[in-house]
């Protein structure tokens, strides 16, 4: 089943009056439920832009060529209002960023609770879910610590717990291992892989790291704002299993 599907995705950024960057030049993409997909490509290839559009952080350009389409579980989300996109992000998506992006004044637990709160889940249920998510990433005993008291790897695991807590339909991770050394990087990757295997969690991640790419079911390769290679699911699954 296709969980996320995009067609005619274009994005042009205006840097100044004369200087515009055509970051996405018409992309077609389809992510299956339960898939763990890596998007790879050199800097400026448009992979982050694609991620922002898939994550509803930005809307695709509506008026360059054919109308863009973006469907989440079959539902059109291409032309939602800012408020409606925010709601979809809060309830149906989870985000992991390169530099962890935890709120520095809040404890690990409160950071996770923030995501429940925005999704409209409050009180005891939210607390239980947040503690469970922290347990899943192995940080149950660090719930009361602030980000500054946690290592980089731990911070990223808190961020994963925050992304997981609402059991989203899809997790989008932007260079999730980019700021970690190879051991921590492997840990985080293993964690994501585990959720993908055990809970069928759909994960799309952007990465520079070919080892990360190799651990995914499929690698989508981008260059100059276009997708050059969609990868082969079966082949990469076999590759992963071979690595494992």
């Amino acid at each position: 089943m296709t969980i996320l599907e995009g067609r005619n995705l274009r994005k042009t950024y205006r840097l100044s009056r004369r200087n515009t960057v055509e970051a996405l030049k018409g992309v077609e993409i389809s992510i299956d439920a339960g898939e763990m997909v890596a998007i790879m490509g050199p800097s400026g290839s448009g992979k982050s832009t694609l991620m922002h559009i898939l994550g509803l952080l930005h809307a695709p350009d509506p008026n360059h060529g054919p109308a863009p389409e973006l469907r989440l579980a079959g539902e059109d989300v291409a032309s939602l209002s800012d408020n409606a996109r925010t709601k979809v992000r809060a309830r149906r998506m989870g985000f992991v960023f390169q530099d962890f992006n935890l709120v520095p004044t809040l404890t690990a637990l409160e950071n996770v609770l923030l995501a429940s709160d925005y999704a409209g889940i409050k009180g005891r249920a939210a607390r239980a879910a947040a503690l469970e998510a922290l347990g899943l990433v192995g940080l149950a005993d660090r719930a009361g610590h602030k980000p500054s008291e946690l290592s980089g790897g731990e911070q990223q695991r808190v961020a994963i717990a925050r992304a997981l807590v609402n059991r989203p339909e899809i997790i989008l991770a932007d260079e999730p291992t980019g700021n970690l050394d190879s051991d921590r990087s492997a840990e985080v990757l293993a964690l994501l892989r585990q959720f993908n295997h055990e809970h069928g969690q759909t994960i799309v991640l952007v990465t520079h790291d070919s080892e990360v790419g190799a651990a995914c079911d499929r690698v989508i390769r981008m260059r100059d704002g276009r997708i050059r290679d969609y990868g082969h699911r079966a082949a990469s699954v076999m590759a992963t299993e071979a690595v494992a």
Binding site: N83, T86, V103
Partner: protein, 389 residues
Amino acid sequence: MRLVRDLGRRKLRSSLTITGIMIGIMALVVFGSMANKIDALVKGGSEYYKDKVTVSAKGGYMGIGGVLSTRMTDQISQLDGVDVVFADVAMMLSDDQSGVSMGTPPMITGGVAGADKGRETFKLNYATGRALTPQDEGSNVVVLGSDLARQFKASVGDTVTLRSVQFKVVGVLEPTLTAPDNEAMVPMAAAQQLYIKTLPTLVADKLNVSEIATGLVVYPKPGVDPQKIADEINASIPGVTPMTGADFDKQIGAATSMLNSILIGIGLISLLVGGLSVINTMAMSVAERTREIGIKRAIGASRWRIRREIVIESAIIGLVGGLLGLGLGAVITYLGNEAGRSSATILFDLTAGTAISSVAFATILGATAGFIPAWHASRLDPVTALRYE
């Protein structure tokens, strides 16, 4: 709680801003209390003078000034529309009224108890003791207003010295917030005796003590306009100045409302400055937290949530500043009143209304000031905000 912690992380800046609000609210509380006191004084006066005509010697004012004669009461009672007339004597408690005095200075007033024949509607309540009676004529007894009683530290049964003469305290009034608080009320004859001693011997020798008056109080018959009586007095009796309630309101009311506006104005200007500093603090705090706002927006905080968070935070700054300012203002008004107690100068009246409205005002000011940075924060693009260093 989270919001309070956000304030805590910028301790210096938050506390400076809170101090700004605090000073503004303190000014508002102090000046507001002063305005309250003036208002109460004026309102009491306005209430007292509204149903009567007060006659003073020409050049005098509000029953104080040159010497009149009690015989004038006969003349005035002949006038059309006059119901009751009586004479009284008023003088400063002491000749040395140096320094600035707020409101009414301490006075000695004398009158025959019951001379108003029940017409006086300004009711005095007795905290302890009793009112003067006609039988007190001839004896040296006194009823003290609340502020004077405190100044003399005297209660019923004690003896106080008024212009070198000893008087026995028979009653103490409850506070009225207006003139009687600073009055020592004595029988008519006693007041006449005190008054004649204030006059130069040459003048005093020509006067009959028992006929001395400094003011006449005239009550019109029901339905008669006090102004008509005042006009009649002007036309028929030379050397006197009649004053009605309308005159009082015009002269005193106008002056005090001007003063009140100036006082409140000063308070509001200091608050405006405080409000601008809240805007500044919150704008800087938003800039500092750009990235955090980006994270929150990315993981699903609506624009409304971001705005609410910042507005509440700045409302808390306003509330805390307001409460501190109220506390400081309360201390200042209390100390000011205590310091003025010895000279019976009560400058401030901090009412519940003033207290509540200044704190509410500070909170609303904070929230309003937060709205501009909040709006800015809510319009940030999450992706750009996330990249912000």
